[in-house]
C-alpha cells in the first residue's frame, strides 16, 4: 500500500497493535448531533484522532437547474479535507481526485436509504469536513453524515454506518489507523444498512484471499453494530429535547 520508506512492524510482540488495541477492537467513538446553528442538521464525530464535522442543508432548490430531477431529490455529498487535518504537511484546499471519488461513493450509499422521491426537483447537500485525519476518514465521514441527515429530519429507510477492516502482518484487523493503513497489506472500508446488513459502500485495496474477504465482512458487521449504537444514542439525545437550543460547537468534544 501507499507507505514509503522501510516498513515498520505493525504488531507488538504480545500480538497487540501499535496503539495497544486487539485486532477486533475499535478506537473510541463519540458522536454529537446538532452542533451547528445554520445547518438543518449537523454532527461532530470523533473516532480515535479523526474529527469529522458534517452539515446538511435541504431539501432545497436544485442548482444548477438542468441537474434537477422531476422525480427525486439529488443527494450531493461533498467530502473535503481541511488543509490542517493531517499530522504531515499542509494540504492545499479544494477537492482532490481522491476526495471527489469519496464524495461520489458516499452520495451513492445514501441514495439507497434516503426517500428522495418525496422531494422532486430539489437537492440535499451533505457537506463533510475532515478537520483531523488519522486513517478511516471515509468511514467516519459516512457515519457522521448519516447522523447529520437524520438530525435534519430527512426521511431515510435506515441509518447507514461504516467501518474499515484491513490486514496487518497477515492478520485481519478492524478500524485501521493511519500507520496501519499506510503500511498494512489491505484496507477495506465497508458501509452497511443495519436493518438488513446490505452493503452500501465497498472499497478495497491490497491483497485479500477469498476467505479473508468473507471474514472481513463478518468482522466489519460486528464492529458496525457497536458504532450504530453510538449513532442512535447521539440522535436520541437531540430528539428527546423538544427544541434543543443551538449549542456552541463541541462542548467537551474538542478535548
Amino acid at each position: 500500500m501507499g507507505g514509503s520508506g522501510p516498513k515498520p512492524k505493525l504488531l507488538n510482540s504480545d500480538g497487540s497493535r501499535l496503539d495497544g488495541r486487539k485486532l477486533e477492537e475499535m478506537r473510541p467513538i463519540t458522536i454529537e448531533a446538532r452542533v451547528l446553528n445554520d445547518a438543518d442538521g449537523s454532527c461532530l464525530l470523533t473516532w480515535g484522532r479523526n474529527k469529522v464535522l458534517v452539515g446538511v442543508y435541504g431539501p432545497r432548490e436544485c442548482i444548477p437547474r438542468h441537474d434537477q430531477s422531476p422525480y427525486r431529490a439529488l443527494i450531493k455529498c461533498r467530502y473535503n479535507m481541511a488543509p490542517f487535518c493531517s499530522l504531515e504537511e499542509h494540504n492545499r484546499s479544494g477537492p482532490s481526485r481522491r476526495s471527489k471519488e469519496l464524495s461520489k461513493v458516499i452520495s451513492e450509499a445514501f441514495e439507497n436509504v434516503i426517500i428522495a422521491e418525496a422531494y422532486p426537483k430539489t437537492q440535499i447537500d451533505v457537506y463533510i469536513e475532515v478537520l483531523q485525519s488519522d486513517g478511516g476518514t471515509r468511514c467516519a465521514a459516512l457515519t457522521a453524515a448519516a447522523v447529520a441527515l437524520a438530525d435534519a429530519g430527512i426521511p431515510m429507510k435506515d441509518l447507514p454506518v461504516a467501518i474499515a477492516v484491513g490486514k496487518i502482518e497477515g492478520k485481519l484487523a478492524v478500524d485501521l489507523f493511519k500507520d496501519e493503513d499506510n503500511f498494512g497489506e489491505s484496507d477495506n472500508p465497508i458501509a452497511f444498512a443495519p436493518r438488513n446488513w446490505e452493503v452500501l459502500l465497498y472499497q478495497a485495496d491490497g491483497l485479500l484471499t477469498r476467505d479473508e474477504v468473507e471474514q472481513g465482512l463478518e468482522l466489519a458487521k460486528e464492529a458496525a453494530k457497536k458504532v450504530h449504537e453510538v449513532q442512535v444514542e447521539a440522535l436520541k439525545r437531540v430528539y428527546e429535547k423538544p427544541h434543543p437550543p443551538s449549542v456552541p460547537l463541541a462542548t467537551g468534544m474538542f478535548q
Binding site: D38, F84, H90, L131, S133
Partner: protein, 257 residues
C-alpha cells in the same frame, strides 16, 4: 435581495432610533465570546472562537518552503480563509469568494503588521525557511467573521508549537517548545447603519448595514484597518471608533488568556 436589504435596514434604523438592537445588546457590546485553544492535535496550533452563534476554527501547519526572493532571510506566513459550505446556507462549494479572500487578507494584515510572529526566526539556511500556514474555517456564519477569525488566529498562534527541524525536514510529533509571540492582535468591527455604529454586527445587521469598519490593534498600536461597503466615515467617526477599539481590544485579550 435588494428589497430584503432595504427591509432589514428599515428594521434596524427603527430599532436604533429607540436606542435598541434586536438582541437587546448595547451598541458597543460584544456577544458572548469564547476562545478554546488546542482543539486539534495533528495541527501545530489550533483554536475555536465562538462569537454568539458565529464559529470560526483556525488550524496552523508548519512546512519547509523557499523564501520570497525579496525577503530571502524571512520565513513565510500564509493565511487562508475557507467559507466551508456547512457553515451557512449562503456559502457554496467552489473557488474562494471575494469575501473569503478579504477575510483572509485582513486577518493576515493584522497578524503580520503586529509583528507578533518573528518571521526572521523562521530562517533555516540559504533558500530554506519555515512556512506557517494559518487556515481559517468558518463553521457558522452569524456575522462579524473578522473579529472571530482574528481571535481564532491569535488563539491558535498562542497555542502553537515550534516544529523540530532535522536535515531540512520537519520531525512531526516533536517540537521545540511554544512559538514565541511578541504581542497579540485583536480586531473590532463596527457596522454603520444610517448614522449609527454597531460593534460586533450579527448577520442580520450586516445584511442591512451601509458600511463596515474593522480596526485591528495591539495594546499600543493600530495594526490593520479595513473599510467596506458604500458608507462614508467622517474623521471624527474614525477616531471615535479607533478609541473604542483600543478599549474593547483589552476586553477581547482577556478571552485569549
Amino acid at each position: 435581495m435588494e428589497i430584503q436589504k432595504q427591509l432589514k435596514r428599515d428594521f434596524l434604523t427603527t430599532l436604533l432610533s429607540q436606542g435598541k438592537r434586536a438582541d437587546e445588546r448595547g451598541k458597543m457590546d460584544y456577544r458572548t465570546t469564547k476562545v478554546q485553544k488546542g482543539v486539534l492535535q495533528n495541527s501545530e496550533g489550533s483554536a475555536l472562537c465562538n462569537l454568539g452563534k458565529t464559529q470560526v476554527l483556525c488550524g496552523i501547519k508548519f512546512d519547509i518552503a523557499t523564501p520570497f526572493p525579496d525577503r530571502p532571510k524571512e520565513g513565510v506566513l500564509a493565511t487562508g480563509a475557507e467559507f466551508t459550505p456547512l457553515g451557512s446556507h449562503l456559502f457554496e462549494p467552489g473557488p474562494p469568494s471575494v469575501e473569503s479572500i478579504e477575510l483572509a487578507r485582513v486577518v493576515d494584515r493584522g497578524v503580520r503588521s503586529s509583528n507578533a510572529v518573528d518571521l526572521q526566526s523562521f530562517f533555516l539556511e540559504e533558500g530554506k525557511v519555515l512556512a506557517l500556514y494559518l487556515d481559517l474555517y468558518v463553521l457558522d456564519h452569524d456575522g462579524n467573521l473578522f473579529d472571530a477569525a482574528t481571535l481564532a488566529a491569535m488563539g491558535a498562534l498562542q497555542n502553537c508549537i515550534m516544529p523540530k527541524v532535522e536535515g531540512g525536514k520537519i520531525i512531526r510529533n516533536e517540537n521545540k517548545g511554544s512559538l514565541p509571540l511578541a504581542t497579540s492582535c485583536v480586531s473590532c468591527t463596527f457596522a454603520k447603519v444610517d448614522a449609527y455604529h454597531l460593534l460586533d454586527p450579527t448577520l442580520d445587521e450586516e445584511k442591512g448595514m451601509d458600511g463596515r469598519l474593522t480596526i485591528a490593534t495591539t495594546p499600543k498600536h493600530m495594526c490593520a484597518a479595513q473599510k467596506s461597503g458604500w458608507a462614508g466615515y467622517t474623521q471624527k467617526d474614525i477616531m471615535e471608533l479607533v478609541d473604542i477599539s483600543f478599549a474593547k481590544g483589552d476586553e477581547l485579550r482577556r478571552h485569549l488568556q
